[in-house]
C-alpha cells in the first residue's frame, strides 16, 4: 500500500521533465575543474526548457530551432570557490552533419564567454579548438557581440569568424550557433536567479 501512495503523492507534487535526455556534464566535478581549476565545488541549478523558451529562441534567432533533446530539465552549474561564485558552466548541444555536437561553455558573471571545450564532437575538424585565434573570437564576448558574427541567413558564420576557422566553416558555424543559444537561454531561464551571484 505504501508504494502506490508514494507514487500518487509524487505524481501530483512534481514538475515533469519533457524528455529523458538530461543534457548536462557527464561528470560535473571533474569537467568543471578543468575550466575552473581553483573551484572547490559546484552548485547545480535546474530549470525547464519548454516550448515557450523554444519560441523565444526562434524569435531572437530566426532560422534556428532547438533539437528535441534540448527540451526538458537542464542544469546550469555555478563554479564555487567556497561561498564565492567564479562563473557559470552550461552544456548545450547543436545538431551537425556529424550528429550532435556537445559544447561545455564557461561564462563569466556578466554572461560573456570565458572559455569552452567539446564534450562530444565527432567532426574530423574538431582540432579547430586548438587554434587560439578561433577561440579568441568568442572569449570575452556577450550575446549581442557574438550575434554580429552571424550572417543574415541566421545559420552561417561570417568571414570574421571563418577567417579564423581554417577550413572548418561548418563546424565554426555550429559553435557560433551553440554559443548564441547558450547565452540566450542562460539569460532567459537563469538570468534572474544568477543576479544574486553578481550583485
Amino acid at each position: 500500500m505504501k508504494i502506490p501512495l508514494i507514487l500518487t503523492l509524487l505524481l501530483f507534487s512534481i514538475e515533469y521533465s519533457y524528455a529523458d535526455a538530461y543534457c548536462s556534464l557527464r561528470d560535473p566535478v571533474a569537467q568543471i575543474q578543468q575550466l575552473y581549476p581553483q573551484k572547490t565545488n559546484q552548485l547545480s541549478i535546474v530549470k525547464t526548457v519548454d516550448s515557450s523558451t523554444r519560441n523565444l529562441v526562434k524569435l531572437a534567432l530566426p532560422s534556428n530551432d532547438l533539437h528535441f533533446s534540448e527540451l526538458g530539465r537542464h542544469t546550469l552549474y555555478v563554479a564555487m570557490k567556497n561561498t564565492e561564485a567564479l562563473g557559470y558552466v552550461h552544456v548545450r548541444s547543436e545538431q551537425s552533419k556529424w550528429g550532435l555536437v556537445e559544447i561545455i561553455w564557461a561564462l563569466d558573471k556578466d554572461l560573456k564567454i570565458q572559455d569552452f571545450t567539446f564534450q562530444r564532437c565527432r567532426s574530423p575538424k574538431k582540432k579547430i579548438l586548438d587554434n587560439k585565434d578561433f577561440k579568441n573570437v568568442f572569449i570575452g564576448k556577450s550575446y549581442e557581440e557574438l550575434k554580429t558574427l552571424l550572417n543574415s541567413d541566421g545559420i552561417t558564420a561570417n568571414n570574421i569568424l571563418l577567417d579564423k576557422a581554417r577550413g572548418a566553416p561548418e563546424l565554426a558555424s555550429v559553435v557560433l550557433r551553440c554559443a548564441l543559444k547558450t547565452l540566450l537561454i542562460t539569460d532567459i531561464l537563469w538570468g534572474e536567479e544568477l543576479k544574486k551571484f553578481n550583485p
Binding site: I14, D20, A30, Q31, I45, K97
Partner: protein, 335 residues
C-alpha cells in the same frame, strides 16, 4: 567471510545514513533541482521458437534529484519505480510469480555522494547497475537494446555500496553489493564484488577493463572483461569480450567465454538508430557454443514518444531445444 560480509552490510547502512543526514539541509525544498519523468511502455514479444506471443506493460516514474547546500552540490539521487504487468510471458523473470503477474519493480535507486575532497572517491549507495563492461556506461533500462548483464553476471542491478570517480584521463567504479538482486539483503551468503576502470566515457574511443567475483542464486562466478566503444561520425563500433568460470553446484568450476560485437548507426538528427549485434558464448560442458544475432531499430518521434523493434535469431543449432527466434516491438512514452 561471513564476518566480513556482515561488516560490509554495516558499512552500506552507515554510508546511507550519513548521505541522508548530509543531504538534510536541502530537503526543505525537495522539488529544487528535481527531474521527474512519467514513463510508460507496452512491449509485444513474438517467440517463434516457443510458439508464444506475450506482452509486457510498464508504467513508472524516473527521478533525478541533485542535493545542494549554499556551498555547492552534495550529491544526487536516482529513483526509478515501475509497476510492471506481464501477459502470457514465458519464461518470466525472477521478479514475477506467474506468466500474468504484476509487480512493483525498482530499477535504479541510489544516492551518489560527490562533495568529498578532490582526491576522495564519490560514494554510491543503493540499487545500481553493476560496474562491468559496456552496460556500465550505456543505459539500457526500459529499452530493447541490451548488453546481457543479467544473463552473464546473474543480475544487472544489485543493492550495495560503490566508490566511483572521474579523473583527468580515466574513470573508475568499484562496488560491493549483496547479491540479493532486487532485495537489499544477502541470500544464502550471496555477494558481488565488481569493478571497472576505463577511459572517459565522452571520448570517441573508450576502452575499459572489468572484473567480477560473485555468488548469486548459489552460483559462484568469476569474470574478467575488456570492453570498447569507437565512434566515427554517426557510426559506432562496440565490443565486450569476457572470460571466466562458473561453479553451479559447489563442486566444479566450468569455464565460460563470451563476446559481443555491435555496429550501430545514428541519423544526423539522432531520431533514428540502427544496431546489429553478434554474440558468441562458449560454456564448458555444453556440447555446442551459442551464436546469436540481434538487429534493432529505434525511432524517437519527438522528445516523448519512441518506437523500437528488434529481432533476435540464433545462428547455430543448439544441442537441445530449438533455435532462438524472438521478435519484439515496443512503444514507449515519457513525459
Amino acid at each position: 567471510m561471513d564476518k566480513y560480509r556482515g561488516f560490509a552490510k554495516a558499512i552500506v547502512r552507515l554510508c546511507a545514513t550519513i548521505i541522508i543526514l548530509i543531504s538534510a539541509p536541502s530537503y526543505g525544498d525537495f522539488s529544487d533541482n528535481l527531474r521527474v519523468s512519467l514513463d510508460g511502455s507496452a512491449r509485444l514479444n513474438n517467440n517463434s521458437a516457443a510458439n508464444n506471443t506475450s506482452r509486457i506493460y510498464a508504467l513508472g516514474i524516473d527521478t533525478h534529484k541533485v542535493f545542494s547546500s549554499t556551498n555547492g552540490d552534495i550529491g544526487y539521487m536516482v529513483g526509478q519505480l515501475y509497476l510492471t504487468k506481464l501477459s502470457n510471458q514465458t519464461p518470466y523473470s525472477f521478479l514475477f510469480n506467474s506468466p500474468d503477474d504484476k509487480q512493483f519493480v525498482v530499477r535504479e535507486a541510489h544516492l551518489n555522494y560527490t562533495a568529498g575532497p578532490k582526491w576522495f572517491p564519490n560514494i554510491r549507495v543503493g540499487h545500481f547497475t553493476l560496474p562491468f563492461g559496456l552496460e556500465a556506461s550505456i543505459d539500457t533500462n526500459g529499452r530493447l537494446l541490451d548488453y546481457y548483464h543479467g544473463k552473464n553476471l546473474g543480475t544487472k542491478l544489485d543493492w550495495g555500496l560503490g566508490f566511483n570517480k572521474v579523473l583527468s584521463h580515466v574513470e573508475y567504479e568499484f562496488s560491493y553489493t549483496m547479491g540479493g538482486k532486487n532485495e537489499p539483503k544477502t541470500i544464502d551468503s550471496s555477494y558481488v564484488f565488481s569493478g571497472r576502470i576505463g577511459s572517459l566515457n565522452h571520448y570517441d574511443f573508450i576502452i575499459g577493463v572489468s572484473f567480477l567475483d560473485a555468488k548469486i542464486d548459489n552460483i559462484q562466478r568469476k569474470r574478467f572483461a575488456i570492453d570498447w566503444q569507437y565512434y566515427w561520425q554517426t557510426w559506432g563500433f562496440l565490443g565486450e569480450i569476457a572470460i571466466g568460470k562458473d561453479d553451479k553446484f559447489q563442486k566444479k568450476w566450468l569455464e565460460e567465454k563470451y563476446s559481443l560485437l555491435e555496429l550501430n548507426k545514428t541519423s544526423i538528427s539522432e531520431h533514428l538508430k540502427f544496431y546489429g549485434q553478434y554474440i558468441f558464448t562458449d560454456r564448458e560442458g555444453e556440447g555446442t557454443n551459442q551464436q546469436v544475432i540481434n538487429i534493432g531499430v529505434s525511432y524517437q518521434i519527438d522528445a516523448e514518444l519512441e518506437l523500437s523493434l528488434s529481432s533476435r535469431k540464433q545462428l547455430n543449432t543448439p544441442g537441445t531445444g530449438k533455435k532462438q527466434d524472438l521478435t519484439r516491438f515496443q512503444l514507449r512514452y515519457r513525459y
